[in-house]
């Protein structure tokens, strides 16, 4: 049962990242019936913009001080805006001239844009994996404070025990978590010695240090940030689409492209705006998901995530924004449960199996409107 909740939480966070990408797929499809296969690359670009904002703008160093929430927020928003602008440029240069050329042509162009961005990335920033700057140390909650006397050598630990302390660094500090014992292991004399040393040093330097015990199921601060980000974006999208002038125009274009044009709606601007919003959300997903959460950046990082998010959008019903959110979360959780209970090796096969099954059985998805021609 403990496992089940742990896997569920992992799936929920990964599902949020899928959902952030799936939103853009579904919005663009909803409005011009284009599967924008370059969308995964927007996620990648977002991660790199966030990276460079932190490195160049905030002087982040690998293994350096932790930057905290404000720089992360700035980087995330900058990533969203930059990615959004990139999407508008791509739309203007590639998709708009091809809008009358048929959907297969546009689809092929999207694949081209995807490959172009991957290779341009490898040329400019290199193919190596790189870690994301240290914005915050991963901390797990809930946790219970212990005192030094509670950790005794020779006893079996009933919970995971760690000591959290910080060391001052130039221009800030670095929080460190030292694991002392794992639930079920005997606490070693070495661990107690290490604990004493850390506490002594912390007292001498005048920095905070605390010992914590963790229950079996915990949520991290990074999980929390991603969950909150998705909730906020969901709320904003709802307000935008349902309660704004632009949203009404979007719905009109989606409903009937030509009629909307005849009614005086500036269709080009609505489409550009849709691309901006979709890529904005994907860029945020890139910085928070690929950057802060996974801390592993490479120009090819958008490939698999883009495909998975596409599956999520299809599951939810492509064209439907609530569908993309539900589809993303459902796919993330289902994958985590397959990882946990079946095998890690079958997770990708499972994901794409779902795609095929969904297209065969219910091509309109969980929340999409039935229609006669998809893709």
């Amino acid at each position: 049962m403990i496992d089940f909740f742990t896997f569920l939480l992992i799936g929920l966070t990964v599902g949020c990242i899928y959902a952030l990408i799936a939103v853009g797929y579904t919005m663009v499809y909803g409005i011009i019936k284009l599967i924008n296969f370059a969308h995964g690359e927007f996620y990648m670009v977002g991660a790199f913009v966030g990276y460079y904002v932190l490195v160049l703008g905030f002087g982040a160093q690998i293994g350096g001080r932790e930057l905290g929430l404000i720089p992360l927020l700035v980087a995330t928003l900058a990533a969203g805006v930059a990615t959004g602008v990139l999407a508008v440029i791509v739309e203007r240069l590639v998709y708009r001239p091809l809008r009358k050329s048929g959907r297969i042509v546009a689809l092929l162009a999207a694949l081209g844009v995807s490959l172009f961005l991957q290779n341009a990335g490898q040329q400019t920033v290199g193919a190596k994996d790189r870690p994301f700057p240290n914005t915050m140390t991963l901390q797990r909650y809930p946790r219970f404070k212990l005192v030094a006397g509670d950790v005794k050598a020779g006893e079996v630990a009933r919970r995971d025990i760690s000591v959290v302390y910080s060391v001052p660094l130039e221009g800030g500090r670095l929080t460190l978590v030292e694991n002392l014992a794992q639930r079920g292991n005997t606490i070693s004399a070495e661990s107690v010695e290490k604990l004493d040393e850390i506490l002594r040093n912390a007292a001498r330097e005048g920095v905070p240090a605390a010992i914590y015990a963790y229950p079996a199921v915990t949520v991290s601060n990074k999980d929390g940030i991603i969950l909150i980000a998705l909730a906020l974006i969901t709320l904003l999208l709802y307000l935008l689409v349902q309660h704004s002038r632009f949203g009404r125009a979007m719905r009109a274009v989606s409903h009937d492209f030509e009629a909307a044009e005849l009614m005086g709606i500036n269709v080009d601007r609505v489409i550009a705006g849709t691309f901006f919003i979709g890529a904005f959300v994907a860029g945020i997903g890139g910085t928070l998901g690929g950057g802060m959460y996974y801390s592993k950046l490479s120009p090819l990082m958008g490939l698999m995530f883009g495909l998975k998010a596409f599956v999520a959008a299809v599951i939810g019903g492509i064209g439907s924004i609530p569908g993309a959110l539900v589809g993303g979360l459902a796919l993330g959780i289902a994958e985590a449960l397959v990882y946990g209970y079946v095998s890690f090796l079958y997770a990708d096969a499972f994901t794409f199996g779902i795609l095929i099954l969904m297209l065969l059985v219910k091509p309109s998805g969980l929340m999409g409107k039935p229609s006669s021609d998809k893709l």
Partner: protein
Amino acid sequence: MILVFGFMMMHGCGESGGANQALIGANLELTGSEASWGKDSQQGIELARDEINARPDQKIKLKFIFEDDKSDPGASKDAMKKLVTQDGVLAVIGAVGSSRTIPAADVATDEKVPLMTHAATNVTIVKRSEYVSRICFNDDVQGGAMAHFARATLKADSAVMIVGNGDPYSEGLCASFKRVFEAQGGKITEQLAYQKGAQDFKTQITSLKQLNPPVVWVPGYFNQVGPLIRQAREAGFQAPFLGADGWDDPQLFTLAGPAIKGNYFSNHFNPYGTDATTVGFVKKFEARFGTRPGAMAALAYDAAYAMADAVNRAKELKPEAIKNAINTIKDLKGVCGTITMGPDREVTKDVLILETGEDKYLFKELIKAADTK
């Protein structure tokens, strides 16, 4: 690329390079996910090449053509074919990764041109034919050494293995670790897996915490092992991870962060070693390239010297004669130990066990080749 091209322009693409020049290929991971190893190897070869060609008694000069296998098995086969059939090289050094060396070894066998790998450790590689040889220890030796280390030094009675799915390097090492660990009285409680390119190891770590083993054997590459160790420590899992030479890259420290401290891996070379040979090599390398050499650079350096030795002793400058000379190399001193080719075209070397410190490797112990069985 530009360098290689310029090189060819200057010298022309003559058949094997003429009477007093030997044309040697190098098939390396110059781009792609393991590019840092290929680059390291190229620098090792370049350093050795210039030293060898500057020796007054070196009558036959060595000329190298570097080809990129893009860290990809298919591209490795193409690169090898190009070297052998178009450039007409006498012999080839490479590749680093086993998955790239296996297709190259097949081409070497078909085309009857010797391939000397400086760093690929999968056991099957040199068994392909007499045209394939190796100057480092193989996975049987290094997996066995780590199993012996886990039993004898860390006193672990059980272990969990994490295999990189579909990667012959990782699979071979898991097989040899398991064999020796069980022969020495240990028990493998579970084998977990991950896929190439995976970034998220939280589910494997959940299983690890549940299984609670005293050590974890994860013979993967640095670019996945780094994040795995970081995520494991973040989740509160504290047993040491053990690995092999695939860990050896400075990126391991940046990808894992402070979590890297206190884990162990087997290696060919310790760039932080204090003996005279190591210090001398590191100094020369740093003076020329501005970075500290990794094990791949050291092995490639040794391989270039081994190739020079074979070229000098060969009866004629033909692939067949070079092959015979390679297979009879004896007592050649290198920075990664002495090279004596056995009848199975393998060398016998002791295995270096390194502990990962915060930002460098610390010498832990030397496991004798005899203890790895």
